[in-house]
Amino acid sequence: MDNPVLQVEKRTQLGSHAARRLRRDGKLPAVVYGHKEDTLAISVPEKDFRTALQTGAKMFRIHCDNNEQDALIRETQYDAFGIDILHADFVRVYMDEEITLEVPIEVRGTPVGAAKGGVLEQIRRTVEVRCLPAHIPEKLTADVSGLDVGGQLTLKDVRLPSGVEIAHGDMNTLVAQVRLPMVKEEAAPVEEGELAKGPEVIVKKVKEEEVEEES
């Protein structure tokens, strides 16, 4: 699949006010950096960028002033509600150079232990992988259907597409496990007087010497 193309413009005015004006006009402030070249402040059409993100794109082809370069999306900032995109970070990459990036892990199947009352717990949701930009996987999958109660799935068991290797050092890192739900012991009832007393107040200890001096 070809990388989505973004027609971007260089940003001359920087700062929060200029960024807010850009967002009002349907553009998104962004930045391109990497490969020891100058950092470039750009503005991206918000609609195009959002559409590309929804299709799972990670690599983009950036057109800026008759200049083309491939870039990987490094970070996307959202507002407090996770709805509006506020800013994006792109890092320059060469298509023949291996890159390292975080990819989500998806667990598939219903574990055998679930029928015995076990709960599937996914501990690690992303993993760092190394691959060529053309081979970036959308996600890695791991089959948990064979897990019994107490069973564990590690990075070794994650299925990798060709041309992709895990960059995380320890392959025994836990990804998912099936365990019996913990039964919490009911806390001992708190006496009324204890509740009314409230928390302990931290009081500064006055040195005895100071007290003597004052007297």
């Binding site: 407090a80 509600f81 709960v119 708190v190």
Partner: protein, 137 residues
């Protein structure tokens, strides 16, 4: 469960305004689904506990619940039929200050439909409007 600080520097706090949106604690961090506040407000320790009980009754032994906020702030009040003056009242209850965007609860280990039903029960216990969000990878 006793939801209030163990030790405090000052027993009584000023009320203060709640301004702006949440700049931290606004994403799902521990589980798959979260209950996000859409309004600013105070959530009392009793309301938080009521929400926890509602979820644990609904989910039973399934899944996992995480409470992302803690009642750090004391709210004082004067006894009824008391004349004004004579100093600030005694701390009555403890609240968690919540800004729009704050994730209050998280649920994991259950299907989405079940989490939604559980959050629907919690929403009735809270003084702020809320919505369910899912984890963004």
């Amino acid at each position: 469960m006793r939801l209030m600080p163990k030790r405090v520097k000052f027993r009584k706090t000023q009320r203060r305004r709640i301004k702006g949106n949440a700049t931290r604690g606004h994403t799902v961090a521990f589980c798959e689904y979260g209950l996000q506040s859409m309004d600013p407000g105070w959530i009392t320790a009793q309301q938080l506990e009521a929400g926890r009980v509602a979820v644990s009754h609904f989910l039973g032994r399934e899944g996992k619940l995480v409470i992302r906020v803690f009642p750090q702030k004391s709210v004082s009040s004067k006894p009824i039929e008391t004349r004004m003056g004579k100093g600030k009242g005694e701390p009555e209850f403890w609240v968690a200050v919540v800004k729009p965007g704050t994730v209050i609860y998280e649920i994991g280990g259950v299907p989405e439909a079940m989490a939604r039903q559980a959050f629907n029960r919690v929403a009735h216990k809270l003084p702020v409007s809320v919505r369910m969000i899912t984890r963004r990878v």
